[in-house]
């Protein structure tokens, strides 16, 4: 069973989703929680089986799909994808467990389980076509969640979300086809296998074009400035569960893909585009933080704060050294936990008051002290206080980029200032002051179902902030092999200079492993 654990992880939720149609609607919730819990424990088991000292791919499976064109079903994970998969299964589980939606619960749970398959699939796929299929499939459940359970503008928001990301993916698909074509030209055989692509050293001008094509797909997903405007609409209209999954997992697909595709496939282009991308990342950090500050709706504050934090992740990724990339991957996990928790927290108050306008609140700290405490912990994590999960990732990302450019890192570092400004202001508006609205005077504090989701998240936030090693070590080991691969492939002097040579003989080279 161990050798097929990844396939089980991918297809078990999908199978369960199909069986879910025949489950009675009253027991749908229990069914969903059970399936998601089994899936989550399977992913924990995967972690248990995972060897943290090996930097390469583990649990690889391969089966031919279209042999003539080199399209194979290849899955495998390393330290980078492992924890994002666990994050996905975890959030699906607590998302279903804390579901407060009452309309068509069964459909929603089936949709979520289907979505879970696509998420695990994306992060486990090592074949470009398989990756692409899961990547695109993930749009459909989310489209459905926003379109069917969303707010008044849900159709506009969901269509915008779908078309925008779909357009980006199409450009990415063209890039993939060209990549396969170049591979065919170079080796005489077709292949979409990522590990085989890693061995291909492309001339710089090819790299630049392909990098750009992949970039469009990834950047819209992240979303990077100026492609980010679909996100506020999607969050604004999506139900809580949709926002949680979107922010915690789906956005990470973009940044994950940068690490998995862009960096090792196109090291020279990555260096070439480092500063333009860093500029975009800094605009994301500062500009969206300002936009977040101007918001009147607390969910939009969290939505824009997501974009701002994703800017730090992108910056860390393009630091192109072990510190920066490890930090950015850790921050993906951290941001998943924290932004997911913040969206859940916004959901808590929305369920009670059916509004998200901050001007409707004020003084909630005295009415809902436990809610205020949990929100406070997550807010402090969001502003990157040391000993919370975010700090580790943010610090390493900025530290990494400081090596590449002092000025850029300094400007990007303003993230810790502007982040504090919008978050503290929002917190003050919601929780401090006196209770002015009659409706707020007798709000109920967080209940047990909500605590079920929020307390574990708070525990993780602090636990991994104090002791990040269990996650950071495998991540760092896998990142080392990517950085070494990039250095070995680098052709331009600029790239050879900027990508460090780790020269560590223990680092297994992915190139050799692909054989």
């Amino acid at each position: 069973m161990q050798e097929h654990i990844l396939s089980i992880l991918i297809f078990f939720p999908a199978l369960a989703a199909m069986l879910g149609f025949i489950v009675h609607k009253d027991s749908a919730r229990a069914y969903g929680i059970t399936v998601a819990a089994v899936e989550f424990f399977l992913s924990l088991w995967l972690w248990y089986l995972y060897d943290p000292m090996t930097s390469g791919m583990q649990f690889m499976e391969s089966a031919p799909l279209v042999a003539a064109f080199g399209i194979n079903y290849i899955v495998g994970i390393d330290g980078i994808s492992l924890f994002i998969i666990i994050l996905a299964t975890f959030f699906t589980m607590i998302g279903i467990a804390s579901l407060t939606e009452t309309r068509r619960v069964k459909d929603l749970i089936v949709t979520l389980l289907f979505l879970e398959m696509t998420m695990v699939g994306v992060f486990a796929a090592l074949d470009a076509v398989v990756f692409y299929v899961f990547w695109e499939l993930s749009l459909i459940p989310m489209l459905y969640i926003i379109g069917a359970w969303g707010g008044p503008l849900r159709i506009y928001a969901s269509v915008k979300f779908f078309l925008y990301t779909f357009t980006g993916s199409l450009v990415m698909l063209v890039g993939m086809l060209f990549m396969a074509y170049f591979y065919h030209q170079a080796t005489g055989q077709w292949s979409f296998s990522l590990l085989e692509w890693y061995r291909l050293i492309l001339p710089l001008n090819f790299q630049l074009w392909l990098f750009a094509a992949f970039f469009v797909g990834f950047a819209i997903k992240v979303p990077m400035f100026p492609f980010h405007t679909w996100l506020p609409y999607a969050h604004g209209q999506a139900p809580t569960i949709g926002s949680v999954i979107l922010a915690a997992i789906l956005l990470k697909m973009g940044t994950y893909a940068f690490v998995r595709f862009s960096l090792p496939l196109f090291p020279d282009a990555s260096v070439f585009f480092m500063f333009p991308i860093a500029t975009l990342a800094i605009i994301m950090i500062v500009y969206t933080a300002m936009v977040a500050y101007a918001q009147e709706d607390v969910k939009q504050v969290v939505a824009y704060s997501s974009v701002s934090h994703m800017g730090v992740i992108v910056l860390g990724t393009f630091a192109l050294n072990v510190e920066g990339i490890s930090g950015s991957i850790f921050l993906m996990i951290a941001h998943g936990v924290v932004s997911g928790a913040l969206f859940l927290l916004v959901g808590v108050i929305y369920d009670r008051r059916h509004t998200k306008l901050m001007s409707e609140f004020g003084g909630l700290a005295s009415v809902m002290p436990r809610y205020a405490t949990l929100f406070g912990i997550m807010m402090m994590a969001s502003v990157g206080l040391p000993l919370t999960i975010n700090f580790v990732g943010e610090f390493l990302s900025l530290l990494g980029f400081y090596k590449q450019s002092h000025g850029f890192a300094l400007v990007a570092g303003t993230a810790i200032i502007v982040g504090a400004i919008y978050m503290l202001t929002a917190y003050k508006k919601m929780f401090f002051g006196t209770v002015t609205k009659e409706e707020n005077k007798h709000l109920k504090d967080v209940n047990k179902t909500e605590l079920l989701a929020l307390v574990p998240l708070a525990v993780i936030t602090i636990w991994l902030g104090v002791y990040p090693k269990p996650i950071l070590e495998p991540i760092s080991n896998s990142v080392e092999s990517i950085v070494q691969l990039m250095h070995d492939k680098a052709q331009t002097p600029e790239a050879q200079k900027r990508i460090p040579n780790l020269g560590n003989p223990e680092v297994k080279n992915l190139q050799q492993e692909a054989h």
Binding site: P386, K428, E473
Partner: protein, 629 residues
């Protein structure tokens, strides 16, 4: 010894967590008792460690790994050496006293349990700050105390002014923290470690410009926590918090963290004396700048806060001039008498039903005799009268400036000493002497609980003896780690003229303050409407300027960024492109009208276009490849 280190460090955390368990429930005295008891335990462990260190040992432990990625490695490591043990003593003594005092002070507050949870958490953070053996560990404490400061300034969160001040303090500190982070980045990429021992051993191998930048960035970090100009405005506003908080955080401990950083990083600053002089100059400027604002202020707590700011300036003068042990000594002495002053102010506030304007008080020495004595004692110590603590620590800084031949700094500090004496005794005179002006507001003051006064007593003792008794053993201990430079004015005549002159000057300032304020208070309209009075009264208009130059434009700019740029430009462009495509589809769908002949015609058009394109591309491609060959 390690066990004592861990007890000293984690006892406050245990107290905080214990109180947090009861955070949302109504007052339970046990939280205050347990938290105070655990702090006393922490204090006793610190005493044990002090003895150990005084015997010439140090304790260094590495608890566990914190962050490790690639070559980057930072553990949770703690060190108790000559410098950190001094800080530990200061922190544990003052915090234990403040905790016990708070049991009385917060007696009627419904957030009693929450208060102790925050206060003990603060002590824990402060302990991490001073005990860490690396820069990132220090940064944990640095941000931790910032968080607790935010929680405690905004403790009465229903007050708009309190929460505003809390946010201001946090954000302003964050600005400085960025510089500190950059300093840490520089250290890491140049040395490859953040451990103090490695960094200090290697720092002299770096080029001077790099060391200079490291020194500058770390100092900017220190400026935030220690509220140095131009990041000073938050400290006065932080007085919105409960008074014990002001005593512990905003007088004795947290605000001195910046001084501690400079003292701790003395091997860095020792290499760059120019930066040191800049630090000293800024310190002297702040000393006077803050003292002038204290002269006219009408808020008891703000006066003491400006006084703190001014004394921090003194400490930075000493640290900047390389007299690290002097800076640390003044830090310690100041912690004792300033905490005492604040706690006394707390008693007055309680008696006065939270009235802060000393002009509405007077003659309180009748009803609050002990508080009067304690506050006078603290003020004498602050003014630097022999033989109290301030004389030994503050006048020493004057001597340092003189011996190092920075006569401008010396003059500024001397004048400031006069101002300090004046505003301190202006406050004492207004509160405790003269007519009982509060009677017309219907306030009948009463002395604080006896146990609160007993709690304050150790501080009074320390304020009296800290200079006389501690100076020699302190010097012998810390100079094992810090540069041992004795500052003596060699010429005896000069020494006596300076010492006695300073004393007389200070006494004259005190006498003047008593004369002006101890009897009847006459409001001199002409002076008060004058430019200088207004300038000082409005804190040089700096808060206003910050509001106009930073806060409001940022708010406006944010609105523009959202409403104009994000919605009207970025998003509208995306929708525009989508609309163009959509309309093209709408308009061209008539082509597919099902009429065979028209569709055939379109097909021919398409074919021709494709052919032309194909030819053009082939020709173009060949031309390019030919040239390439």
């Amino acid at each position: 010894m390690e066990i004592y280190l861990y007890i000293a460090l984690f006892a406050p955390l245990a107290g905080s967590l214990f109180s947090a368990l009861f955070g949302a429930s109504p007052k339970t005295s046990v939280t205050g008792m347990v938290a105070s008891g655990l702090l006393f335990v922490s204090f006793m462990s610190s005493v044990v460690l002090l003895n150990y260190v005084m015997a010439g040992h140090t304790v260094h432990v590495e608890m566990m790994t914190w962050i490790a990625a690639g070559d980057f490695y930072v553990p949770f490591g703690f060190v108790v050496d000559q410098v950190s043990v001094v800080m530990m003593m200061v922190v544990s003594v003052v915090s234990t006293i403040v905790h016990i005092y708070s049991i009385g002070y917060m007696d009627h507050d419904k957030g009693f349990n929450r208060f102790f949870s925050y206060l003990s958490a603060f002590v824990f953070s402060m302990m991490i700050l001073v005990m860490s053996d690396n820069f990132l560990g220090l940064f944990i404490g640095w941000e931790g105390v910032g968080l607790c400061s935010w929680l405690l300034i905004g403790f009465w969160y229903h007050k708009e002014s309190a929460t505003w001040a809390a946010n201001e303090a946090f954000i302003m500190n964050r600005i400085a923290d960025l510089a500190m982070l950059v300093g840490i980045f520089m250290i890491y990429w140049n040395i490859g470690s953040l451990q103090y021992d490695v960094v200090f051993a290697e720092i002299s191998n770096l080029s001077i410009p790099i060391v200079t930048w490291i020194g500058i960035f770390l100092f900017v970090g220190a400026m935030g926590k220690s509220a140095q100009f131009p990041l000073h405005t938050w400290l006065a506003d932080a007085m919105e918090g409960p008074t014990p908080v002001s005593a512990l955080i905003h007088a004795a401990t947290m605000v001195t963290a910046g001084v501690y950083l400079v003292v701790r990083a003395n091997p860095i600053y020792g290499l760059i004396p120019e930066v040191g002089v800049a630090i000293a100059s800024l310190g002297a400027f702040v000393a006077m700048f803050a003292a002038t604002m204290a002269l006219v202020n009408r808020d008891m707590k703000r006066i003491v806060a400006y006084s703190t700011l001014s004394q921090l300036g003194y400490m930075f003068v000493a640290a900047g001039l390389g007299a690290y042990w002097v800076a640390l000594f003044h830090l310690m002495a100041h912690a004792f008498f300033k905490a005492l002053l604040f706690l006394g102010a707390g008693n007055v506030m309680h008696a006065m039903h939270d009235e802060l304007d000393p002009f509405k008080m007077g003659g309180l020495k009748k009803s609050m005799k002990v508080t009067w004595i304690l506050m006078t004692l603290a003020s004498v110590a602050l003014a630097g009268i022999y033989p109290l603590a301030g004389f030994f620590s503050k006048d020493l800084i004057l001597e340092v400036a003189f011996v190092e031949q920075h006569y401008v700094l010396y003059t500024v500090l001397l004048l400031t000493a006069g101002l300090t004496a004046f505003y301190s005794f202006r406050l004492v005179a207004l509160i405790f002497h003269g007519n009982e002006r509060h009677l017309k507001y219907g306030i009948h003051p009463h002395e604080a609980y006896t146990f609160m006064l007993y709690a304050m007593a150790p501080l009074a003792v320390l304020a009296v003896i800290a200079g006389m008794v501690f100076k020699t053993p302190y010097y012998e201990m810390v100079t094992q780690l810090l540069p041992a430079i004795e500052y003596h004015v060699h010429n005896h005549t000069t020494f006596w003229i300076m010492t006695i002159g300073t004393q007389l000057f200070v006494i004259a300032a005190i006498a003047f303050a008593y004369k002006k304020y101890a009897k009847a208070v006459r409001v001199d309209v002409k002076v008060e409407s004058g430019f200088f009075y207004q300038l000082l009264y409005n804190q040089y208009y700096i808060p206003k300027i910050y509001d106009e130059v930073f806060t409001k434009p940022y708010r406006e700019l944010s609105k523009v960024a959202w409403k104009q740029i994000d919605l009207k430009i970025v998003d509208a462009t995306v929708d525009g492109i989508a609309n163009v495509i959509y309309r093209t589809g709408e308009k061209t769908h008539t082509m597919q009208n099902g009429n065979l002949s028209s569709m055939l015609r379109w097909m021919v058009v398409g074919l021709v276009v494709l052919l032309v394109l194909a030819i053009a591309f082939t020709v173009g491609y060949n031309a390019v490849t030919m040239r390439a060959m």
